[in-house]
């Protein structure tokens, strides 16, 4: 791990956090010194909050908020320019018959599709997120990961979703993961960086908490649960742990960082449960697309159908909204 010679004041971190990033040993000491996650407790709390009943006007508000937080995603080997363009059209006008439906927060694609998306979304204010750093496995050299990131930004990406090296993390080489995130953050410059932890491969909640803090220390603007290519993807308890991390980070540093659960969130009901968790665990100020996102593709369809159900007074169907 490269020794950080900057002073605490220049990183804007309080001294104890700045000390943690000094070298590999202090980083390990800090991460392993984090309080352990009570597995039963967090799962119970997540399940308890999930039973909350959100109805009528609150539900409609929740649906509109969730729509505005969606990172509309297509990450398939079979992606074509046509598919990306139609996705962008949907991002701009999710429900063409109802112009009051908010736009989504971003469109998320592979780096080679960024230019197509940027062209289609010009002037709309919708962000273009690109996965990078040898997504989804993260198994490549740092040089290639940097090149991957630079290519995405050059093509017009306004947000970069990087994956961490889970192999290095699980074998305890925290310094390597830290340096990698920091290097990618430097390559990003002002571009928003989301750090994908791939919680499905991290095995324990303690690891999720450590990875979250590691990503926050290294300068990630968002921490994201998963690539969507590994099962289990996002779960409520994992998101709870990550929301706690950004909440505590804010309490200690005053900086606001975001969370993005991705993968496996398909129903409006699930999305609303996540919003309840955001409100209860992180706090109300996280209920904005700047600090909370859903990485999803089919969720938007269900949100639109449920929105229509709320407004029309009867159930809608896939014949009446675009389903992809």
């Amino acid at each position: 791990m490269a020794v950080d010679t900057t002073t605490g004041s220049s990183t804007g971190l309080p001294p104890e956090l700045h000390d943690a990033t000094r070298d590999e040993t202090s980083l390990r000491r800090f991460l392993h010194g984090l309080p352990g996650v009570d597995q039963v407790g967090v799962e119970q709390r997540a399940a308890g909050l999930a039973t909350r009943s959100i109805k009528k006007a609150s539900k409609l508000w929740a649906i509109d908020t969730a729509i505005s937080m969606v990172d509309l995603t297509t990450l398939e080997g079979a992606d074509t320019a046509g598919k990306v363009k139609s996705l962008c059209a949907k991002a701009k006008r999710p429900d063409p018959e109802r112009p009051d439906v908010p736009q989504v927060a971003a469109v998320c694609v592979y780096p080679d599709m960024v230019a197509t998306a940027a062209e289609a979304l010009r002037g709309t204010g919708i962000n273009i997120a690109s996965v990078a750093t040898a997504f989804p496995s993260g198994r490549s050299s740092l040089r290639i990961k940097i090149a991957d990131t630079e290519f995405a930004i050059e093509q017009g990406a306004t947000e970069v979703d990087m994956v961490i090296d889970r192999g290095a993390f699980l074998s305890g080489r925290y310094g390597q993961v830290f340096d990698e995130i920091r290097t990618i953050k430097q390559a990003c410059g002002d571009t928003h960086l989301k750090v994908i932890l791939e919680t499905g491969e991290l095995a324990t909640y303690d690891n999720v908490r450590r990875a979250s803090w590691l990503a926050l220390l290294a300068g990630g603007d968002f921490i994201k649960t998963s690539t969507g290519k590994v099962s289990p993807a996002a779960t409520l308890p994992v998101t709870h742990v990550m929301l706690q991390a950004v909440h505590d980070w804010h309490a200690q540093t005053g900086q606001l960082r975001g969370v993005k659960p991705a993968g496996g969130i398909r129903a409006t009901k699930d999305a609303i449960r996540y919003l309840v968790a955001v409100h209860e665990v992180a706090g109300e100020q996280w209920l904005t697309p700047d600090l909370f996102r859903f990485g999803a593709s089919s969720l938007l369809n269900d949100l639109l159908m449920q929105r229509r159900t709320q407004l029309d007074g009867h159930y809608s169907g896939p014949d009446y909204v675009t389903v992809d």
Partner: protein, 288 residues
């Protein structure tokens, strides 16, 4: 006579091939024609209707895409299972509808025969209702019947088995999938039919059976945008006009039976099969 306590049954819904409780957690008591307690049945809510439609839509592709021959085999297998449960059906029909055991026996036999009759129709519908059309041009033009989609059914209120089979079998024989609201006060034969279907080869979701208050559930089914057709045979008479109006919102096919319940013992014709079919006509250029 032993002093053993009878096991009071609490039945559940049949939804997507599974037997869940009602989302609402409600149940209601089913009584026989003399008012004696028979069993508890789940009282479905609008959200159960929604889930049932989702299940039916999911099953539609597979069921409508199965070959007519295969559908016939599957339905015939159901008839075999009905035969196996004959005694149970007789007891339930007798308890629900009252009357003599002999009448109940005749009703159950007629219901099984009706099921077999519709099972036989699966691979004959296209021949009878389709056509090679004579056209004045170098085209081969033919019309084939295709299933309408998800059909919502209000099962007859008084004929709890024969009427039920007479409205359900024609819907699924042609490849539609069904969401069926049972007779409100006589749901037991329908519940047993759902147990038969669950152990047969009919894929989960092709038939979804909901017990509960017809007047409460029918409006949600009628207005649901993902339901393609509606059979209002067992809907309360005074609600039919409203249900038709709700169904018009998404231009559903509606079969409304006004007046009294039909005489189900009469041998049916293909009209109920035809009701839930769409005709696709193909023009194909003839070769040189």
């Amino acid at each position: 006579m032993s002093d053993r306590l009878a096991v009071a049954k609490t039945y559940k819904l049949y939804l997507g091939g599974k037997f869940p409780r009602s989302e609402s957690g409600r149940t209601y008591q089913v009584r026989d024609s003399r008012g004696t307690f028979l069993a508890n049945a789940a009282q479905a809510s609008r959200k159960d209707v929604r889930d049932a439609v989702v299940a039916a839509r999911k099953a539609f592709g597979g069921w409508s895409g199965a070959t007519a021959y295969n559908r016939g085999q599957v339905l015939y297998r159901v008839a075999e299972l009905l035969e196996g449960r004959r005694e149970q059906f007789i007891a339930e029909v007798a308890a629900s509808e009252g009357g003599q055991a002999k009448r109940a026996q005749a009703v159950v036999d007629a219901a099984i025969d009706r099921w077999v009759w519709y099972a036989g129709w699966t691979d004959k519908i296209a021949t009878v209702l389709g056509a090679a059309n004579p056209v004045a041009g170098p085209y081969f033009s033919f019309s084939v019947p295709e299933p309408t989609g998800v059909v919502g059914i209000c099962a007859p209120q008084s004929s709890s088995l024969l009427g039920l089979v007479s409205v359900l079998a024609p819907v699924i024989a042609s490849g539609n999938t069904a969401v069926l609201l049972t007779s409100q006060d006589r749901p037991l034969p329908a519940i047993t039919l759902s147990e038969v279907l669950a152990t047969s080869d009919v894929p989960g979701g092709v038939v979804n059976i909901l017990t509960g208050r017809t007047a409460e559930l029918a409006p949600w089914l009628a207005a649901h945008a993902d339901v393609n057709a509606l059979d209002l045979t067992g809907a309360p008479k005074d609600t039919i006009a409203d249900l038709e109006e709700a169904a018009a919102g998404t231009v559903k096919r509606v079969l409304a039976v006004r007046g009294n319940e039909p005489d189900w013992t009469k041998q049916p014709d293909v009209s109920r099969l035809r009701r839930f079919l769409e005709t696709k006509t193909v023009w194909h250029p003839m070769g040189v």
